[in-house]
Amino acid sequence: MSRMELAERLREAREAAGLSIRDAAARLGFTNYQTLSSIEKGEREVKASELALFGKTYFCSLNKLLIGDETQPSAVHFLWRQAPTERKTEVEAFIKHRFEEYHLLEKLLGLTQDEASVIISVSPADVRTKFKVDALATKVSNLLNLGSRPAMSLQKVMEQMLRTKLLFVELSDFGSAASTVHPEFGAAIVINSEEAPWRINFTLAHELFHIITWSTFNPSELEQDEALFREIERKADRFASSLLLPETAVREELIARSTGQKLSFSDIVDVAREFGVSTQALLYRMANMQLIEWLKADELAKNDELMMIDRRVRREAGCEVPSSQRFIQLAVKCLRKGLISRGKFSELLAIDRADIDEVLEFWGLSEVEGESIEIMAS
């Protein structure tokens, strides 16, 4: 490989990451952008230690920089719930890189997309009305055996059964969630890890709608047509609400807690927690189940006393930092089988080398495979 070839790959990688030469130079720690400019012109040698930093800054692997892509990768189209207003290319390059790493773990373990369970196909007619969307949610819930408290198992089912790649990333102001269905790495969802758990459940269910209707509504068209996008977003919200708050189970729970057909604010908050959704989500679901008026739901969603009870109860319940269980499990499995190095493992999970053993112990996972036992064919 000539210095020019590497220079060219570095320039392409920077551009793919959406970084200007000045921004990239600053992130790489160069005192001025001329140093990076010299590297990209092939005038200055790249040190081995700098290569790792280039990979990290440009969200690409070492072998992509040193060997290049043998096959032309397919473009990834992300459908954002609320698209980043700035640095979109950079955010998407980062997310794409994380999904590629996720897919690498699957490939190392021989898990191909074909083995993933196939979910139902949906036609535009299947979601034409809100009642049809409700029916779709019930159908999906039954197919996936989500039970009467779907939020409790939705993430696990999506990860383990549907093999949907979930990533929790601190998106801050860059957007709340995005989904894609990629020809190579399949269905994938990225969620802002800073969201509260009950909001994450709703976002997951919302994004599940986009995943199962990916071929039904062309994502590129949705991005071009604001009115159509808003309509599909409303359907996705309706789907999420129906999926997470099954009518029969919600009615039973509300009746069980009511006294003389009256519910206290605390009861409403408790039921919302029970179903793993926000209090607002429950109120609007109660409205579409015709248990309260829409105006009343709107009014309650803004009620100071109710929101104060909600905040207090949620604060006391505490919040776990969300993580992709399947990604962690695949990484540990690859480590156990000697398919990735410990250095790669710590890089994938963003932990320090010295913490690997402690982190594995915390998760209750072992690095050692142990003996194998034979199972009988039934």
């Binding site: 490989m1 590497l6 040698e45 790249v46 040190k47 081995a48 230690s49 290569l51 790792a52 990979g55 692997s61 070492l62 072998n63 040193l66 060997i67 043998e70 690498l104 490939k107 190392l108 690859c334 480590l335 089988k337 000697g338 398919l339 990735i340 190095s341 410990r342 250095g343 790669k344 710590s346 890089e347 320090d352 080398r353 010295a354 690997i356 402690e358 690095e367 050692v368």
Partner: protein, 174 residues
């Protein structure tokens, strides 16, 4: 012995079991630049000990630092099967590249993926397990430390055998 410590884990573990300084006194220790900066702290008896490896060992001349060129790293990657190229950390790739260049170095690692890569680079014969290193150096662990299975000769040889099989069946011999 001119000893090449392949990755940060080896250094961290040897510091943890309190034999690193003895090994530095007995052997000429070498590490790759990328590895130096990855050693930030180690744990001993449940306590986290920060370590400035560069100051304490490189700048003081107790450990020799070496760097690979991008060409050497590319050569290492090309010799590995395509999935394995992506499964090893860039610091370890640099480390393997220096090892290939310096034929006089004996390598120590207990990283399964790195051990399995050795046959592809024709450096397997220059590698030893941490257990063997401790034995040949006459070092015994304090009774409070039980030898981690990953440091054992058994773990090392079983992964090396796996790597040899992968190498043979990969068609790299042709």
């Amino acid at each position: 012995m001119k000893l090449w410590l392949l990755d940060a884990d080896v250094i961290i573990k040897l510091l943890e079991i309190n034999v690193f300084n003895s090994l530095a006194d007995m052997h000429e220790l070498h590490v790759a630049s990328a590895v130096v900066d990855e050693v930030k702290y180690f744990r001993r008896d449940g306590v986290k000990h920060p370590v400035n490896f560069r100051d304490q060992y490189i700048n003081s001349g107790r450990v020799v630092e070496a760097t690979a060129t991008t060409g050497e790293m590319q050569d290492v990657l090309r010799r590995l099967p395509s999935l394995r190229q992506q499964s090893i950390h860039s610091g370890e790739i640099e480390s393997l590249a220096v090892l290939v260049r310096h034929e006089e170095l004996t390598l120590c690692t207990f990283d399964a993926a790195a051990i399995r890569a050795l046959p592809f680079l024709d450096v397997a014969e220059r590698a030893i397990s941490a257990e063997r290193l401790l034995q040949t150096s006459g070092l015994t662990l304090s009774p409070c430390y039980k030898l981690d299975q990953r440091l054992s000769e058994n773990y090392f040889s079983s992964n090396l055998n796996q790597g040899i099989q992968e190498f043979i069946f990969s068609g790299s011999l042709n």
